[in-house]
């Protein structure tokens, strides 16, 4: 498929003897939004971390933009410049200002001039609705603001695909929606996204495809309208009933 942004074929991964990913097959097309959910320890974060090579898979093939991920550092660098990542713990650089957080990658890895990088950074700060926090240190911002800075930092690298690893799980409840709003806007602008989350309201709103994982396997995969109303597997049904109660 020529427009597949990400392709996983028969991907397996072990942490020592623990089989954390079992024969994962997944295709994410350009512009598609895929939401992955499942109980903790199911391997959903590991899938995302394998896609941008933070973890190495041991068997199977992962292609990003048609380029296969191999062991050499060059392919990892190529992939990382195509794939952005937003972490649960934000992982902003605490010793740098917001603006410096955003311009570090573009200047050092992309070779942009400081001026170009700062213009771009201010543009993306505006897009995540915090244009006036550029000169603060991350610690001076609220959790929701920090996560939006992290999103802007990823966007500054102008990735083809954006990965989200439980982006709202570390946030206070009242800050979740400001982050989700930004993510919905991104989705509406056509960004290709893979999102690990338990925010089912968000999933209903933007997902083109829902994935349910359990014990290292993709148990259920489908359009959200079927996924939520008529899950096929017992495990998925049980999981959904548990998280949708509240």
């Amino acid at each position: 498929m020529p427009d597949a942004a990400i392709e996983l074929v028969g991907v397996n991964k072990w942490f020592d003897t623990f089989h954390v990913l079992k024969d994962i097959n997944l295709t994410v097309n350009s512009g598609e939004k895929v939401v992955i959910c499942g109980p903790s320890g199911s391997g959903k974060s590991t899938v995302v971390r394998c896609i941008n090579q933070l973890e190495k898979h041991q068997k199977g093939t992962i292609r990003v933009d048609g380029v296969e991920l191999t062991d050499d550092a060059k392919s990892a660098a190529t992939i990382r410049s195509e794939v952005g990542m937003v972490f649960q713990q934000f992982n902003l650089f605490p010793h740098l200002t917001v603006l410096e957080n955003l311009t570090l990658g573009p200047i050092k890895a992309r070779g942009l001039s400081r001026k170009e990088a700062e213009e771009k950074a201010r543009l993306y700060l505006e897009r995540v609705h915090i244009p006036d926090q550029a000169d603060k240190k991350p610690i001076q911002l609220s959790g929701g603001q920090q996560q939006r800075v992290a999103i802007a930092r990823s966007l500054c690298m102008e990735p083809r695909v954006l990965l989200f690893d439980e982006p709202t799980s570390a946030l206070d409840p009242e800050m979740i929606s400001e982050v989700l709003d930004v993510m919905v806007e991104l989705a509406n602008e056509g960004m290709t996204m893979v999102v690990v989350t338990h925010e089912m309201g968000f999933a209903r709103k933007v997902a083109d495809k829902m994935i349910f994982m359990d014990a290292g396997e993709i148990v259920e995969e489908g359009k959200p309208e079927h996924f939520f109303t008529n899950p096929q597997s017992e495990r998925c049904r049980k999981f959904l009933s548990q998280i949708l109660q509240h």
């Binding site: 090579q53 933070l54 990382r80 010793h95 050092k108 990823s154």
Partner: protein
């Protein structure tokens, strides 16, 4: 309370001085001979400071070079680090000093090189190598204490290993590394006393020599202890100042 603790031993010493067993005249700066003795003792200070400073700088450089392979993902590099640290850490300072001063020139000779090692450099080399095993561990702990997410985030915005270290990890780690590193300097100052046994004219050697001629070990070694105390207190104040500065930066 603090003041009391300082004053108590002084009172004790002053009280004792009236008895026959004390002879403070030997280092009494108001008499000509006492003043000469004090000057002789204190004149070792410069050598102690020189040895300690140069050894500390070398230790900081060698320590980083030993620490970095210890952080590698490759087992072979980590092994190099482990062997160096475990081996060097296990050697007591005095035997190492003897080995370097008396043994190393013979090693060089057997390789056809004539490298004389004087007491000054013998002491510096020994202190630097001995201390580098500890500084290496300080570096390693400091760098490892930076959350893994920082390195991952740096990677996802396209930075390579060197850029990640230089722009993300080390600027954060240095704040945690510097205070214990400076602290380690105190250790070097104290251990530099061993240089006296290979004939280095530093504080302890001067005291030993004066004791031999004056037969007043109690008074002379008491002064010696206070000389080290003053040196270490100055460094401590420096370390504390450094920690405050680092702390202030972190909040900002």
């Amino acid at each position: 309370m603090k003041k009391l603790l300082l004053i108590a031993p002084l009172l004790l010493l002053a009280g004792c001085s009236s008895s026959q067993t004390w002879g403070w005249y030997v280092i009494d700066p108001t008499t000509a001979s006492g003043w000469t003795n004090v000057k002789f003792l204190v004149s070792g200070m410069w050598a102690t400071i020189q040895i300690s400073l140069i050894a500390a700088v070398l230790s900081i450089v060698v320590g980083l070079m030993v620490a970095l392979p210890g952080l590698s993902e490759k087992r072979g590099w980590r092994l190099v680090n482990r062997v160096y640290v475990e081996f060097i850490r296990a050697i007591p300072l005095l035997p190492m000093l003897f080995w370097v001063f008396y043994g190393l020139p013979i090693v060089f000779q057997s390789m056809g090189m004539n490298v004389p090692i004087d007491p000054f450099w013998g002491a510096i080399i020994t202190l630097a190598i001995s201390d580098s095993a500890f500084t290496a561990e300080i570096y390693r702990a400091g760098i490892q204490s930076i959350a893994r997410g920082q390195r991952e985030a740096a990677q996802t915005i396209g930075l390579n290993y060197v850029q990640t270290m230089r722009y993300v990890i080390l600027p954060q780690a240095i704040r945690r590394i510097l205070p214990p590193l400076a602290n380690q300097f105190i250790y070097i100052v104290k251990m530099s006393a061993f240089a006296s046994v290979i004939g280095m004219q530093e504080l302890t050697r001067r005291a030993n020599e004066l004791v031999v001629t004056e037969y007043r070990p109690l008074e002379i070694y008491t002064l010696l202890i206070f000389e080290y105390l003053i040196l270490v207190l100055i460094i401590s104040a420096g370390v504390r100042w450094l920690e405050r500065r680092m702390g202030a930066d972190e909040r900002g």
